[in-house]
Symmetry: C2
Subunit: 220 residues, 2 copies
């Protein structure tokens, strides 16, 4: 169903104070693995998804498909798949790195009050294929843009998100009974974080460090 045309509004002016706060938001957004059990307010997740749909999408194709996972048996299947994949990942490391990996907490699937799976619909006709001919992966990237939007909007409400990628996408699609043409982009734990921090948890845990942005810029 199309959205009715909005009345023309004055373009907002984003001032220096807002930009400083926005920078704080980027700096304090975290990939959260330690959640409180407190539920989100009624309707909060749906509002965040609505905001996520303001993201850019290739050809205005809006390929994002949000699956709110509440059924305990389905959540359990996801948790079991994570456990299997995480054990496989641990086996692929050796020595000191294996020991460090074993000590990481990489998902909050048990505690987080909300589970959200996000898919890209590869079969959608919306957008008439514009911009996807030479780079069909643009549909997936549009969904990532929506996820990024949701993440920031959530953090601005004090709500944390954690992206779980240590999963077998085919198993997750089966566990959630999802159309064949949908590709899993991400599975998310959502809830209130145990702590707030401006350093990534993997840096605090000594797994990896942030590099200087200038090291990743080339000129041509």
């Amino acid at each position: 169903m199309p959205i009715p045309e909005s009345a023309a509004l004055a373009s907002p002016d984003f001032d220096g104070a807002f930009r400083a706060r926005l920078h704080d938001l980027f700096a304090w957004r975290r990939d959260v693995r330690h959640f409180k059990a407190d539920p989100l307010p009624d309707g909060a997740l749906e509002r965040l998804i609505e905001t996520a749909c303001l993201a850019p999408s290739v050809g205005l194709s809006q390929p994002w498909r949000f699956v709110i996972v509440d059924e305990p048996a389905r959540r359990q299947a996801v948790l079991e798949n994570f456990s299997t994949c995480n054990a496989d990942a641990l086996n692929a490391y050796a020595g000191e790195l294996a020991a460090r990996y074993a000590n990481l907490k990489l998902a909050g699937l048990r505690e987080a009050p909300c589970h959200l799976a996000v898919f890209a619909d590869h079969a959608t006709d919306i957008g008439h294929g514009l911009g996807r001919r030479t780079m069909p992966e643009m549909a997936d990237y549009s969904v990532v843009a929506a996820i990024s939007t949701l993440w920031l909007a959530a953090r601005a409400e004090g709500i944390g998100m954690g992206w779980v990628s240590i999963l077998d996408p085919a198993k997750i699609a089966a566990a959630l009974d999802i159309p064949r043409e949908w590709r899993l982009i991400g599975y998310f734990c959502i809830g209130y974080p145990e702590i707030e921090d401006d350093r990534p948890e993997l840096e605090r845990a000594g797994w990896e460090q942030r590099r200087l942005p200038a090291d990743h810029i080339l000129r041509r």
Copy 2:
């Protein structure tokens, strides 16, 4: 080079006024194809890239590689590849849709003062492969998260971005003389937009309409 540990800071409080402004930012971010020729202030693009590096990345792998494209011959090669790919795309449409496609302006490559190509480094060891074993595409998604961050930070300064995907990634990598292991995620025009609007240009042009978010939510 690792970034030195920052002093512990109090967690910022994002209030209702900020959240309302943030929603405006999401709503007024646009995919821009009509640019003024005015250059960006010195250092503005580098600052935006620095902000983009606050994005989440799988295993803290920071696989984003930013290529600022200034050389006229390289820009010309990109423009020519866009023209070829866009003509091919037009040929794939018929009738009314072809006529509508032909009328769209899909890139601002000629006018935009800045060209930025963004790649994912598939060969990086940073992050020790964490979170990429079952979903190797996570490296690409991390780069999209950085792009989304850059886009919002730019818009908050009144700077517009346009994502050009009507390109042959192999041709672009060759034109920019990029390592083989880097995958093109997006090519961007950046500059001051001719107009500001809260409706996507493709909607204003009658190509496609935004759908209701509720139409894209499932429960399981």
